[in-house]
Every structure is written in C-alpha cells, then in structure tokens.
C-alpha cells in the first residue's frame, strides 16, 4: 500500500524524532542525523521529508514557545503519531523477518 510505504530517509527521520523525545525540531533533527549517522542533509530536504510524513499522518507537529536566540521566532516541534509508531514497528518487523530468514552462512564474509 502506497500510503504506508516508508522511504529510508523518512524512516530515519522518524526514528530521530523519537530519539530526541520532546526536543525534535528542524535544527536538532538535522544535528542528530549528523551526529549519529554522519549524514548531511539540507534543511530543505528535511522539510520535504517532514511535510510528506505529516501528510501521511505519521508525525504531527505544533509550534513551541518563542525564544530570543532565533530572532524571536517559534520552533515547530515534531512528534511521532501512533500510526507512525505502528508503521515503524511494521517496518522493523518486516526487516527482522527477512533477517531471520537468511541462512547463517550467507552472512559470513567471504
């Protein structure tokens, strides 16, 4: 089903949001991706992924309070919805299934 299909980048973004708990907004997500996965992404690319996820109902967002450090502009905090968590689990399960199905010797480095 197309709606539930999770892109690899989208999956990582959702996981990162979960890692950040209640401090997930643009800059922190971007930094976390860099820190944990050494992965550079532009704010623009991130924005596209976030809007798509939100459209699918996998994450939700709300504006936070104002802060003097960013020119007084508010942040948009993201949280993973229940649907989102479900599809993350599904994604993990389907992978685990595949992992389990691999015969042991296949993974040995040749």
């Amino acid at each position: 089903m197309e709606n539930n299909y999770l892109g690899e980048f989208q999956e990582i973004v959702m996981l990162t949001i979960l890692v950040l708990e209640d401090n997930a907004y643009g800059v922190t997500i971007k930094k976390e991706l860099k820190k944990r996965l050494n992965r550079d992404c532009s704010r623009g690319a991130l924005h596209t992924a976030l809007t798509r996820l939100q459209k699918k109902g996998l994450i939700s967002s709300e504006m936070g309070g104002a802060n003097a450090t960013r020119g007084g502009r508010r942040k948009r905090y993201y949280t993973v919805t229940n649907t989102g968590k479900l599809s993350l689990k599904e994604a993990k399960e389907s992978r685990d299934q595949l992992w389990k199905a691999i015969p042991n010797f296949s993974l040995k480095m040749v």
């Binding site: 907004y25 643009g26 800059v27 971007k30 532009s42 704010r43 623009g44 690319a45 924005h47 596209t48 809007t51 798509r52 504006m63 450090t69 960013r70 020119g71 502009r73 508010r74 942040k75 948009r76």
Partner: protein, 871 residues
C-alpha cells in the same frame, strides 16, 4: 557576544518565495543554524552556509502558491500538470513539435538577420555628437531649366564664405573626394581610392573618435593626414605611424597626425585617408581656382548654431548666391540645406552623390516586409499544425471541462504551451544564428561588424516577437479547442468542423501566396540582374582592361607602353582616358553663337578611344594619330547630345566645352550606356583631356590564358613605370560595381525566398502527416474495397494542389505589381515573360508535391488491416 546577520538579499529572497505557513519555523531554524555555525566556524562560513541552505530550500514543498488575480488562478499543482501534459504532448508528436520549432526558429533567424541589417542601415550617421545640427548644402537647378540637375556639391569658396557671413553657421567644412592616389611609405606603395580632403573642423561635425592625435588640430596644418587603423597597418605595420611621413603621388610628403579608432562604418562618408584641405591644389589643367564659385565639385557641410532652423538659412541663401555665385547673371538654382539624417537615404537622384555611400530605403523596408512575411509563414505553420492536432487533445479538453476548468483556463493553458514552444524556437534560433552568422554574412556579402552588444538591441525585440507570435498563433487553436463541448467530445463525436477546415485552407493559401510571391519576385530580380549583365550597352564591355597609371609624364610613358603592349598578339587596341564607371564630370556645352550652355557629361579619351572601348561611330571618325590637332580641337558627341543641340548634321560644327576648350565635332557615336541602367542615356561629349590621363585602356582578344597575358603585361610595366604599382581592372567589373546594392538585394530576396519556401514546405509536410492519420481508417476501407495507391494519392493530395493553384492565382498578379514598382527604378528593364509564371507555378507545385508525397505514399501503401484495426 558578537552577533551575525543573515545575508540580506538571500533572506529577502527566502521570505519572498517561502510559503507563509512555513516561514516562521524555517527562518528561525536558519537563523539558529547561522548562529551556531558562527560560533563554531566564523561569520564567513556561517553566511555562506546560510546562502546554500536558502538555495536548497527553493523547492516545491516550500514554495508559496502562485496566484493570479481572478479568473485565472493557477495553483502550483495545476501548473505542474500543465507542464507535464505539455511536455508529454511535445514528446508524443515529435514530428509536429520539431516542425514547429524548426519553422519558427528559421523564421526568427531570418527576422534576426534582417533586423540586424535594417538596424545597421538606419543607424547610419546617427552617432555623431553634433549630428542633429549638421546639414549639407545642395542646389537644385530643375525649377529653373528643363535640363537642370540636382547637385550635392557647390564651389570651393562656398564653405568659408558661408561661415564668415552667416552668424547661424558655427562651422563649415568642405569635402573633396579624389581617387587613384598613389601612397608610398618606406616599403609599401599602393593605389588608393577612398581619399578625401577635408577642412580642419571636420571632426567637429563628424565626431569620429581618434585613437591617436588631437581632433582639433590634426587637420589644421597643410600636409597632414589621418589614417584608419587598417591603413596604418597596411603602410606602417605594427609601428605607430604618428609623426611619420607618407608620400602622395610622388609629389607631396604628408605627415601622419592622427589615427582613427576604427574605420568609418555607420556613416555615408567613405574614406580610408583624411587629408587636410590646406594640402589640396587645383589639379593640372583645370581652368579653375579655389576661388571659382562655378567649380561645383565640393561637398559642403555646415554645423548650425544651437536652435537655428535650416529654413532660416535656406531663405538667406538666395541672397547669398545672388551676391557670390550669380554676380552678373540671373539665379538659376535653388540652394537649400539637407539634414545629415537625409543624406544616406535621400541622395539617390542627386548628381555627384555617387562619391559617397548610399542606402536604399525601399530595399530596407522591402527586407523588413520579407522578414515579416517569413514570420507569418512560420506562424501559420504553427496555427495549422495546432488546429489539426486539436482533435487528439479533444478528450483532454473534455475531461478538464468536466472537472471544472473554465474556458479561460484552457485558453491560458494552450497559449502557455505555444509560448513555451516559441521560446524554445527562439533559443534554437539564437543558437543557429550564432553558429551560422559568419558564413551567412559572407554569403550575403555583408560588411556588418556584429558586436555582442548588438544582442542587447535584438533581445527585447526577440522577446516581444516571441510573445506576439506565440500568442497570435496560439489564440485561434486555443479558442477552438477550448470551445469543444465536453459531452460530444467524451462520446467521441468530435470531428474536424467545417470552419476549422476552412480556416486551415485559408492559411495554406496565404502561406503559398507569400511563398509564390517571393519566388516570383526573386526570379524577376535575378532576371533583371541577368538583363543588366547581358544588355547591349552600346560598347563591348568584355575583354577591356584598364591599367591605372598616375603620373605627370603620362604621355611619354604611354608612348612606350603602346610600343611594348602592341607586341602582344592578344592586344587588339590601345588607348588612354576615362573608364566607364558611372562617374563623370558635368560641364556646360555651348554651341557657337549661343549664349547659355547646356549641361552635358564629359569624358576624356585619347587616340583610338572609341575603337578601343568598342563605341560605334555613326558619323565622322575616332580621335586619330593622323590628325594630331584632335588633341586640341577634336570633339566627339553622342546621339543624345546631337539631339539636345538640335542638329541634323553635327560634323564640323563648333562647340565650346567648359569655357576652356573650343573645338569642332569630328564624330558622332551611337548612344551608349555610360551611366548605370538605372538612369537614361544623357548627352555626352568626349574630348582629349586637358588634365593628366590616368588609365591605359587595352582591348584584348578572347584568350584562355589570361593569367599569362597579365603576367607579361606586368613584365612590360616594369619598363614603363617601375616606380608605380601595377594595378588593373576589367571593364565589366567596373560596370558591375554600379549594381552592388541591386545585387545585394537580389541575393537577399533569393535567400529569404528560399527559406520561406522551405518553411512552408515543412508546414505542409507536418499538416499532411496529421491529416493522413485521421483518415487512416477511411483509407484502409477504400483500399479493401479496391482503391489503388494512385487513387489514394490523388484523394489525399488533390485538395492541397487546388489550394496551391488558388495561391498562385492570387500571388502572381500581386507579385507582378510589387516587382514592377522595383523595376521602375531602372530606366532599362527586362520584359516580364509569361514563362516566368509557368516556372513559378511549377516550382510551387513541385514544393507542395515534394512535401506531401512522402507521407501520402506512406499512408496509401500502409496495410489496410492494420489501419482498420487501429484504435
């Protein structure tokens, strides 16, 4: 703590394109990142990073919606859809798309080339600082007597006296053209023709920029010369010639006092060398001085003071000439000022104007019309192909309408697509132009120096052209398509309607009318050119060579030359004198006993002049060595002169030529065309010149080994005049030079005519390709029922052939009417033969059939089963 500011323009740009819903968070994030980067890596890095992020944010998910005012509001999604569908359509029908693009592209290229040329022509004489205050003195004798002339020259004292007496005149400058000048620097010597003497204020009127030298003083001293950079290179190589000397005619040493920044291009003045007027001396044998008001050979330009109208000066000129020119006789010419801006295009009929360059306004506008017609042909292609294809898009229109598209939305969509196509073709045209510019200009023989700045003039025109052409050619198909009734369309009931067919027919007829018109015109123009080449001019223009020899001891050297040259069996006759090149003086001719002379052209020739040039002697004889007195009193006149003098018998009658030669008529020659065929034959007298002659003229027998003959003549030359350059011309080449503008026009009209034919043929090919696919089922059924390939061929092409014939019927009389106007500027012109029409009809039918046949035969031969099954 120090603060860092976001880059201003990038921030503004971001604010402009960002959807307001996201602006706050994204701007906040950007600023937070900026500050962190600033703390970590400094402001340069941080700001660079900021810019990069802004550019990467410029994406669909961030952009705000584009809103037009009602009723056309296109959401981003719709725009995306339009683009997608548009490109799919282009891709689906590659043939039509490429025909549209190539046709429009070629149309644009022709328009570009022609606009460039026209722009260049209209720019002539517009770049001088004080140009709007510069006028030329002209005088018109025609109101005063029947044989009067319109002259662009006046006597040498005119300019200085004018400047002295008229407070309105700020400066006055004389220009004296001269040719056959030998210049000699240390190593180099050549004959030069574009040499003019000018008064010291020349640069005041004509502000040619100087690369070296001072424009105020460069021409104030005697024996000063100013060169173009090309001539500086030619005579002095890479060294600076400033202050160096150059010998003129082995007589005068001139000092180089200035170098122009570039050769004069956008001006009617034609020169390579400017010599200070103080250097000028009256040529040997001329019965005049620099104080002779009657020596009408000096172009005189004045610079009027600010705010003075030329009319006030015109009025005062009547009194001025009464006091100076016509001191003891009645005024016989009207003097007036001609604005500099009129000189280039408005001097055609004027005498002595042949010394400078001319434009031809009717050619210029004719070319503009051709550019317009070619664009029209290309635009019609576009309309035709779009309407023919509209059926393919009928379903799309139906679905869009059902979903809620308004008519205006559809029109916008289709017009937008057309604009996209015409934009692509403009880009294609620019590429094509850039690639083909040099060879094309070479082929057209244009001395245009194209600069990249010229694109700046062309680009706004091109953008405007893209819009006008795109919208005009799209609007009809757009209205047509948007008018489809959704119910009918979706039921599949749409057929190409009657009106649509009719309009298509009209367009095809118009296209072919234009094309045939251009074919006929170019055929007739080249026929006239052919006529000019072959017309019996009253003398034998083939096999005549003239050798330039500019020297004071011409006659002695000529005797030696005659001896040497006559040893060659190929050399039939030898004489000396003027060559026939359309450039002669005009002098008063007074028969004995008469008071007032009649103006006639005057040529100079030596013994055996007529037989060498091949002039036919009707009565009397040629100048002959057996009558040495001929050099003093011999006069030969042409038939027209005999008529003008009203003589039944001319031989032996006494004439005074130019107040200094008194002689007798010894011969009458048949009228010959010493002017170009633009002008009628006028009265002409020939005498042995009192000045130095400049040319040795040889008539040679037809030979296959011209190179060898020339080589041996050159060997003789080394004995005759080793100090002078060996420079020869053929008479027929000299003559052809008079038709340069005509030949240019002839080349242009055949080139662009050919292009128009090609574009029209391309359009027909595209049209038939679409139409035959619509009729593929019908053809299939016909074939199953027994129609032959020939039947089908006739069926499909018949309609078009009829249209082409109709186009012929419209085009032929129209073209004839237009071209007759052109022919009228020749006094002698070719007759329009009916075979021309046959040729035009055959060419147009041939083009039509050639474009039709491939598709039609392909369709006619296709397998009927496939066609009937086709869906």
């Amino acid at each position: 703590m120090k603060k860092v500011k976001p880059p201003k323009y990038f921030h503004q740009f971001f604010k402009w394109f960002c959807h307001p819903e996201f602006y706050e968070e994204l701007a906040g994030d950007l600023e937070e990142m900026l500050e962190e980067d600033f703390v970590d890596r400094g402001s340069i890095y941080a700001r660079w990073k900021y810019r990069k992020e802004v550019i990467k944010l410029f994406r669909l998910s961030v952009l705000k919606e584009i809103r037009f005012s009602y009723p056309i509001s296109i959401s981003l999604d719709m725009l995306k859809n339009y683009l997608k569908i548009g490109f799919r359509n282009l891709k689906r029908d590659k043939v039509s798309a490429s025909i549209n693009i190539i046709g429009l592209g070629l149309g644009f290229v022709s328009a570009l080339v022609i606009l460039l040329y026209v722009h260049h022509e209209l720019q002539v004489d517009t770049s001088f600082e004080n140009g709007d205050r510069v006028y030329r003195v002209i005088n018109d004798e025609r109101p005063h007597r029947e044989t009067g002339r319109l002259l662009v020259t006046v006597g040498p004292p005119f300019a200085p006296t004018l400047a002295e007496e008229f407070p309105e005149v700020e400066k006055a400058v004389r220009i004296r053209y001269t040719e056959n000048v030998v210049f000699k620097s240390e190593e180099q010597q050549y004959y030069e023709n574009d040499v003019i003497y000018v008064d010291k204020d020349f640069f005041h009127l004509f502000s040619f920029p100087l690369a070296q030298g001072d424009p105020v003083t460069a021409l104030s001293e005697p024996n000063s010369i100013v060169l173009t950079p090309e001539m500086s290179q030619k005579y002095f190589g890479d060294e600076s010639p400033m202050g160096k000397s150059i010998m003129m005619n082995e007589e005068v040493s001139l000092q180089v006092t200035g170098i122009l920044e570039e050769s004069p291009k956008k001006t009617h003045l034609e020169f390579d060398f400017l010599i200070s007027f103080e250097t000028f001396t009256v040529p040997y044998g001329y019965p005049v001085t620099l104080e002779s008001w009657g020596w009408i050979s000096f172009h005189t330009y004045v610079l009027l003071n600010q705010g003075v109208t030329p009319q006030t000066v015109d009025q005062k000129l009547t009194d001025f000439v009464k006091r100076h020119v016509y001191t003891n006789r009645s005024v016989s010419a009207t003097y007036s000022l001609q604005a500099l801006s009129d000189v280039y295009f408005g001097s055609k009929e004027m005498m002595n104007s042949g010394e400078h360059k001319h434009g031809n306004l009717s050619y210029t506008y004719g070319l503009l019309a051709i550019a317009f017609l070619i664009l029209l042909v290309a635009g019609f292609n576009f309309m035709n192909i779009s309407t023919a294809r509209s059926i393919r898009r009928a379903r799309e229109v139906g679905v869009r309408k059902v979903i809620g598209a308004k008519r205006i939305n559809l029109i916008t969509q289709f017009t937008g697509e057309a604009l996209a196509v015409s934009t692509i073709s403009v880009l294609f045209a620019l590429l094509l132009f850039e690639l083909s510019r040099t060879p094309l200009f070479e082929y057209l023989n244009w001395q245009l120096d194209f600069k990249y700045q010229d694109y700046l003039i062309l680009i706004p025109l091109l953008v405007a052209g893209t819009f006008v052409l795109g919208i005009l050619s799209a609007i009809y198909p757009a209205i047509l398509m948007s008018g489809f009734k959704p119910i009918n369309v979706l039921k599949g009931k749409i057929k190409s309607g009657a009106t649509e067919m009719n309009i298509r027919k009209v367009l095809v007829v118009l296209q072919f009318t234009i094309t045939i018109g251009l074919i006929v015109c170019s055929l007739l123009v080249s026929q006239q050119m052919e006529y000019i080449r072959n017309k019996d001019l009253g003398f034998d223009r083939e096999q005549v060579i003239s050798l330039q020899m500019r020297t004071d001891d011409f006659l002695e050297r000529y005797q030696l030359g005659k001896q040497l040259f006559s040893r060659h069996p190929q050399v039939l006759n030898i004489s000396a004198g003027d060559v026939i090149n359309g450039d002669y003086g005009s002098v008063p001719i007074t028969p004995a006993g008469a008071e007032e002379g009649i103006a006639m052209n005057w040529m100079g020739g030596y013994f055996d002049y007529c037989s060498t040039l091949g002039l036919e002697i009707l009565e009397g004889r040629d100048f002959s060595i057996s009558h040495p007195i001929d050099t003093l009193t011999g006069i030969i006149i042409n038939e027209s002169a005999q008529r003008a003098l009203g003589w039944d018998e001319a031989i032996g009658k006494e004439l005074q030529v130019n107040s200094n030669i008194n002689g007798q008529v010894i011969g009458v020659v048949k009228d010959f065309h010493f002017h170009s065929l633009h002008a009628p034959i006028t009265p002409m007298v020939i005498t042995v010149p009192r000045t130095y002659m400049r040319n040795i003229i040889l008539r040679i027998s037809p030979t296959n080994d011209m190179d060898n003959l020339i080589a041996s003549l050159e060997k003789d030359w080394m004995q005759i005049a080793p100090d002078l350059p060996f420079h020869f011309t053929f008479l027929d080449e000299d003559l052809n030079r008079q038709y340069e503008k005509d030949q240019e026009f002839s080349r242009l009209i055949s080139f662009f005519g050919g292009l128009a034919i090609f574009i029209a043929g391309l359009g027909l090919y595209g049209l038939i390709a679409i139409i035959s696919t619509y009729r593929i089922k019908e053809i299939g059924i016909r074939k199953v029922l027994g129609a032959s390939v020939m039947n089908i061929y006739l069926l499909l092409s018949r309609n078009f052939i009829i249209l082409v014939i109709i186009a012929n019927l419209i085009a032929l009389p129209l073209a004839l009417w237009v071209i007759n106007g052109w022919l009228e500027q020749f006094s002698y012109r070719t007759k329009v033969h009916y075979s021309l029409f046959v040729i035009a009809i055959l060419i147009s039918l041939g083009i039509a059939l050639a474009s039709l046949s491939y598709q039609v035969i392909k369709t006619a031969r296709s397998n009927p089963i496939k066609a009937i099954r086709h869906e």
